[in-house]
Each structure stands twice: as C-alpha cells, then as structure tokens.
Amino acid sequence: MSNYLFIQSQDPFTEVRTEHQFALAGQLFDAGHNVQILLVQNGVIPARQGARSQHLDQLIEWGVPVLADDFSLQQRQISDDDLKDNIAVDSVDSVIDALLDGHKVIWN
C-alpha cells in the first residue's frame, strides 16, 4: 500500500483531463492505497457548494480526503462556509509534510 497526494491545480470546467486525473485517484483509492487530494489554484473552484463536478463529488462520497489550499480560496473569495461538506481547509504545508513523509506527490 502506498501513500499518494495529488496536488490538483486544474479545474474540471476548463480542463477535460481533470476527469481522468480524478479517475486515477479513485482507482488508487479503490485498490486500497491511501489517497489524498489538495486543491490549489483553480482546482479549488469545484470545492464551492453547488459547483457541479461529478468526479470530485464522487471521490468525496467515497471518503477520499480532500483539502483546499487557503491561499487559493482567499484569492477567489471562497470562505470556509462556501465549501462542500467534507472538504477541509489546509495549505501547501501539507505538500511538504507529505514529501517529508515519503509519500508519492503528484502535480496535476
């Protein structure tokens, strides 16, 4: 079992490849790996309540931990209260923590 952190900078509304990126995260999670997703930059857009992102919503429903970068949220005036349930606010510190813990960190 491996530990993965996906840094998700692309959003599903402008990048069709996002669907496949979320699919890979889901497949790894389904295979029993520890998977975590950190939304950064425009990647935080589907974190807003009401944003329609079937693939991200599915990951959240499955229990994949999803974090959203505080700086990226602030830039887009998205507050904690605007976020979907089960999305936690974090920062890029979590990337460094994952790297230092030896996790596989992948930039999308």
Binding site: V40, V92, D93, I96, D97, G102
Partner: protein
C-alpha cells in the same frame, strides 16, 4: 549531525505567466519553514526566473509609478529564499538547464544560481529524500 532532509523541486514555467509560479515559490518557502534543504532544477522557461536583468516597472494605466506598483520580480523572490535558507542554516541550491538558458539568452543570472543539465536533476533526485516535479500541464 545534520538530520534535516533534502527535497528537490523541478519546475519549468517562465516568470510572469502562470499562477503555478506563485505556488512553486510558496512550496519552496514552506519547505524552508519546515527546516528542509531545498534543491531546484529549473528548465525550459523557468530558467528565466533567476534572470538578473528583470526590471520592475510602473503602471501608467493605473497611474502608479515603479515604487507604487511594486511589481514582484522572481529573481528577488529567489534572493529572499536564499537569505532565508542562510539564516536558518539550510542549503538552497538552484541549477538552471544550460541549453534552456542559451536558447533564451538569459545567461546573466543572479548569484548562487548555477548552470547544469538533466544529469543534475538526476543527481538531485537521487540524493534527495523526495522530489516534486511540477509540469506545465
């Protein structure tokens, strides 16, 4: 005995183009905050991040002079990170891909940013505890 870990970052975005550049520098700063040695391999457009002739400018549209505009320059961010690393007793190494530098004519780089090639990225990654590659897409 220094048991601090080393992280390598590979980055290829040019300055003043993408939000990834800001996130990249935030990551470098966060690594130093966590007392981690940092190595950067800059290739393709990212070699211009350390270009010494970057110059701030005003913004006539908004009626601001150079000082008021305070336009951020990536070369200054690198210097700030170098200083931060020195203050904390950490290593902060930066190598630009030489071929990428020559292509773009950005040979004049700030101090302590070296010139190398893909074997340096291999060496960096091999000797580091972990590596993050930030692609353009």
């Amino acid at each position: 005995m220094n048991d601090r870990k080393t992280l390598t970052f590979a980055f290829m975005d040019p300055p003043f183009e993408s939000e990834r550049t800001v996130t990249f520098f935030r990551l470098l700063d966060a690594a130093l905050e966590k007392d981690t040695h940092v190595r950067v391999f800059a290739y393709e457009g990212a070699v211009a991040l350390a270009f010494a002739k970057q110059s701030p400018h005003g913004n006539a549209v908004h009626g601001r002079n150079t000082e008021e505009e305070a336009h951020p320059l990536t070369k200054d961010w690198i210097v700030a990170l170098q200083q931060k690393a020195r203050t904390k007793g950490l290593n902060f190494e930066w190598i630009n891909c030489g071929l990428c530098v020559d292509e773009r004519g950005v040979n004049d780089v700030i101090e302590d940013c070296g010139r190398g090639g893909p074997p340096d990225l291999w060496r960096y990654a091999s000797q580091s505890f972990n590596t993050l590659t930030i692609g353009t897409r």
